[in-house]
Symmetry: D2
Subunit: 404 residues, 4 copies
């Protein structure tokens, strides 16, 4: 039973797949299509999407092309890094964090253009469909969602190409097609499929597109200093940068030094395990640096509570629950801790390694006087006995009870 | 008010500090001293401690020298690594995990020798005093504890040396004394003090005793394969190894390839922040490998629950609560998950990097068929719509309620 | 696209709805039907289901009628009560905990009879469909599931009655039909629908079927004593009882004294809120008693950890994840703590109140000597100063840092 | 080694014990004493403390008597009830929540009067010393703390009376001295000691001072309606009330109907178990009502997250960490959820029972249409199949893997 749709906002990359979707939407739903193409740092020109959309019959006023890089880093990437978020101990959530922003802009554009539906190009077995659609529904519960990959029968490369040909969609040929399914934004690039489908296969060197290998990175280390304000990086080597500039520059350092490659098997929200390779050069540096500045500025127990809440926070983002009350609740807790997270972190970058070599802060809670074995102004060594005795009291009582 | 003590079991390294303690115990408490010296892989001969103890008047039958390396790795290190334990996002708990074993053997030897007290050489501002003493009291609530560093007034290097001289304790001179306070066992070596007291100072290269620097590590990567059984590593490159052999061998690989250096500011249980540098070569490899084998053999939700419980588990160990009901409770949960954690992990070691390049298991839950965008035997893409709709239902209802 | 089914095991109550399902399965799927009717303490005869099934054409060897009360209480209710499980602060999970057992037996009977499918009578908007089906699939991933309420178009009372009439299914008339949707087992009875659909309506007194109202309960309190062994109740007023006997007897006490009524709005797993009223007389007594015996036998930190894990454990059961690795992992942790949970709890029952008035245990950790303000054998009041100072040390350091 | 003190602010009740402390401070420390007496609803006149203090030689300008009831309820009790805080499943934290406020005012008065020390009358084995002193040090890291009960040797009733006599401190005789150690404020009254020291002893009826027994409560139920705004109660039966007025009125209802008695064995922070009896009449009503209004206004997952964080939040308050970064972090998360917690709860009070009989809200998320088994506007029953299948996918995959 087909849904009735008047106008649909499509997340449109300009590539073959979303061009096919565009056409398919026009045909299947007989509706007006609005295209939305965002620059979130994927490293490809977005402007060409306009020409393509026009050629496919989209009205000029229905073509939206936007540079969202600053918003992406400021309102999505940075808040997430305040939490030191890592999924399953390894993954920096590069794809996950970009979807909510796309979803949000689609819903806004739907409102702007009076569209009653949105559509995306995510497949039916992945996480991204969930992330897009949870975002859509959280922001507009009445929006109609069209997920072509779950509806159509174009579920093979051949059928897609045949459809493209039949509808005059240009199939660009740039040498050989990559064997990998990829996704990129300012935070990362990902790879799936191809030989990765056997988790015993090591990725081929030429798969990696952003970073040099550690082997090919410079033989000389490089030092950088990141300055933090309220938990966010604001200056690099003393130069103030906007959020997107910061991530862009850190990416350059990371790419150069072979930093941020990752090869994992992860658990998808829809239920299966999947192999993924990732490059997150700047993010890998930021995570290390943020932990370092927190290490001298956060209270111990708030740091530990952050660590305990983090896996759940990361899971929410991975699963697509960015626009949920529970994510906002956790964010409120996390942000509450970042007021004093100010200062500098000095890092050494070398062949895949990000090594913290210094940290300082106007709000530092570190004082070497308190650590040495000598007496100091705040610590009476005799106190340790009472501290230990009372912490052990339950053991003492239990020991006696058990003996009886 | 001095405690009455007849016989005390001292954790005795044979070094200057614990020799001074030995003498001081004899003088101050006028009691018999039993020395206990353990080989837990610290990399120093333990047998010389016998001669030293004899010279200080300890009776032969009161000298205990034991090789605890296998017990250490099997019953302490491995269970901890099953949990992927990391303190404050960075520290592999090398010192923390060794203390409970020492404490346990001291209590056992106290029972064996009829001693009514135990003593250790940990200072009054550190974590180790807590770890030793919580262990003692958990295992024998009636034991008397003597913590010389909190009692005596020998709280400077000069006073200690003067005491040693006055009592004929030999002060060995091996070139210049290290400026760092160090601790070592089969899992790690640690450094505190000296120039580290300023957290903006990068450690000097010659501080590190175990690993070569990444810069000086071989230019050629090396591949190894670790085999897991029930969550523990049991074979290396196909060769079966005992727990201590395994960690010893992995340490060699790590040291050679510049793996496992760490430089952090951490929060002590007694309340202050302290700078520490650590080398955990084999442990760093094991952590990465264990996560990799878990990635294909653990159920998603048990993996996530492990991740959420981990910071608390690591904190318990750091704080000295190994012998606590709550640690055992968490261990029961963790161990319950490891039954299927079997298989091989292939790793590439290169200049500080531990790179997972393959994993396989007879119990693997990974199946590439389920990940691709094509139909498969267990996954109906149409199911995703229902999955998403019902996960979003609360947002839909809340969206409507909020609009009103 | 209808699934091919040869033989299906139906959870059959003998009532109108599941009789209609029985017939519908025969017609729609043209398959053999096996009926499974369990006595889990719902308070109705199960034997009459045999006659009804025979009349509907079920072969005698395909009729399974079983008394599962002991298994239900021993292997499901008691383990859950060891955790003090409560969903959303109020609900004792009476329905949730019975579903996995039914599911398990259906799968076992399917194996026994060579059936390839199972079916249940739970509706398409409730939690029970999830609980049944997650259970089925956890125990047999290949089983075919038929959920008639989601498939057929008999979605109104009239259509059902018409179907019944058309197929000769007897419609018993016992006075007027209850306006409530109900479920019962040895642990509880539940009510939904009718006037409850307005959460401002107070339930009518005649809705409640098990308990008298507190107003109508005896004016004289009654005292009982429950004896615990390893966290489970084993004797009542000194008389040893099997698990099902225990719950049956406690139910009698609860019913008599107006104990265990509950009226809540809860969150269903499928996404909406729903109003439910419950009577859990014996369970309400057990929860209070179990907490009381734990209060003198559990270590503080294991008790606290149990409390922190409980909401998650309860949610797993509510959502239908009884047969999941994560529930088993939590159960392992919980059960680890119950070894010393032995002793007696004395309770006063009076007009809806369950009042703990005494508890004692051979393993008690309570000792009045340790609580008074006088000196005792294990506690030195001077220790408190050190305990407080070191717990406050981070505040002291932070206070100084902030002042600067 | 006695601390040097010029001026000390004493938490002064005007009773015998703190009068002895007052005198003892003057004698032992030879310092000026400032008395601080607060009305936090303990139910005793505070003004008489002025006369007593004057008689003991306190200068008029050093006597502070303040009514803190509104601040107490608004800034301490209400925020805590937003979290539904309960310690160890039972205790409503009546004593714990009052200590931070006293500590805060003492520190403020110390600043005002130029005092360099504070003192309290809490004993050396209880929780209150910790709560006071953590509060002091969190608010002024340099304050000197005098805890007479840990310092002096007046550790028996006889010694105290002898001291009082010797120093002309009037010992009022109001009939026989209560055998219980008590504490009261607007939220609760507590009892310890006496026959309670045997946890098998039922409290005597005449111990309870606030509430009638359920047996003696009215035979007729009474209905009340509480109106919530942003998670706090703001009106009772339609009448707007200030926070302290609200709690006062609810206390009256509770006392009349025998509501809020509690008899438990709890775990003290300093390590031992202790028996306590409590009356929290208004608080018991508020807890039930708050959960009820949340049940129709909170999103499911934020409600669940609150439930999971609650035990830790309650523990922080119990242990004295009100003024800690981690409590504030949790409070930020909790408060974030309360924006929509608005509406009315109707309750029936009867002989110890608080029964929720209705709840309504302008922000309600409950809609009966979504619960019934019929189709509705937001829920497609077919969606349930996909929802269940994908939630079960990991079981399906694991089932297959295990079979192999």
């Amino acid at each position: 039973m087909k849904k009735e749709v008047k106008k649909v906002v499509l997340a449109y990359s300009g590539g073959l797949d979303t061009s096919i979707i565009l056409k398919w939407l026009q045909d299947e739903y007989n509706c007006e299509v609005v295209t939305f193409t965002a620059d979130i740092g994927q490293g490809e020109e977005v402007e060409p999407a306009r020409e393509k959309a026009l050629k496919l019959g989209i009205k000029p006023e229905n073509i939206f092309i936007e540079d969202l890089r600053e918003e992406f880093v400021r309102d999505y990437v940075f808040p997430m890094f305040r939490a030191n978020a890592i999924y399953e101990g390894e993954y920096l959530l590069g794809t996950s964090i970009a979807r909510p922003l796309i979803a949000k802009r689609q819903i806004e554009i739907a409102k702007l253009t009076g569209a009653d539906a949105v559509s995306h190009g995510a497949t039916g077995k992945g996480n991204d469909q969930v992330r897009f659609e949870l975002g859509y529904l959280a922001l507009n519960p009445d929006i109609t969602i069209i997920a072509p990959w779950r509806e159509w029968d174009l579920n093979s490369r051949e059928k897609l190409l045949k459809f493209a040909e039949a509808h005059g969609i240009p199939i660009e040929k740039h040498g050989k097609k990559s064997p990998y399914s990829m996704d990129a934004n300012l935070l990362h690039i990902s790879y799936e499929g191809g030989i990765l489908e056997d988790p015993m296969n090591e990725p081929e060197e030429d798969m990696w597109r952003w970073t040099v290998s550690p082997e090919n990175a410079p033989d000389k280390p490089e030092y950088i200093t990141i300055t933090y304000k309220n938990g966010d990086p604001v200056a690099l080597n003393g130069k103030e940068l906007t959020p997107a500039q910061m991530l862009t520059e850190l990416n350059e350092y990371g790419k150069k030094h072979g930093i941020g490659r990752l090869d994992i098997v992860e658990n998808r929200y829809v239920g299966m395990k999947s192999r993924g390779c990732y490059e997150t050069p700047g993010g890998t540096i930021m995570l290390k640096a943020h932990r370092a500045i927190e290490s001298i500025t956060l209270d111990r127990e708030e740091a530990h509570l952050k660590d305990e809440l983090m896996p759940r926070y990361a899971k929410l983002i991975y699963n697509g629950f960015w626009f949920s009350p529970e994510r906002e609740m956790l964010q409120a807790a996390i942000d509450k801790t970042q007021e004093n997270v100010n200062g500098d972190v000095r890092l050494k970058l070398y062949k895949g390694n990000v090594i913290v070599v210094g940290r300082q802060s106007p709000n530092t809670l570190f004082n070497s006087e308190f650590c040495t074995f000598e007496e100091d102004s705040v610590y009476n060594q005799k106190d340790a006995e009472g501290f230990i005795r009372l912490n052990a009291l339950r053991f003492i009582i239990e020991g006696h009870a058990r003996k009886k």
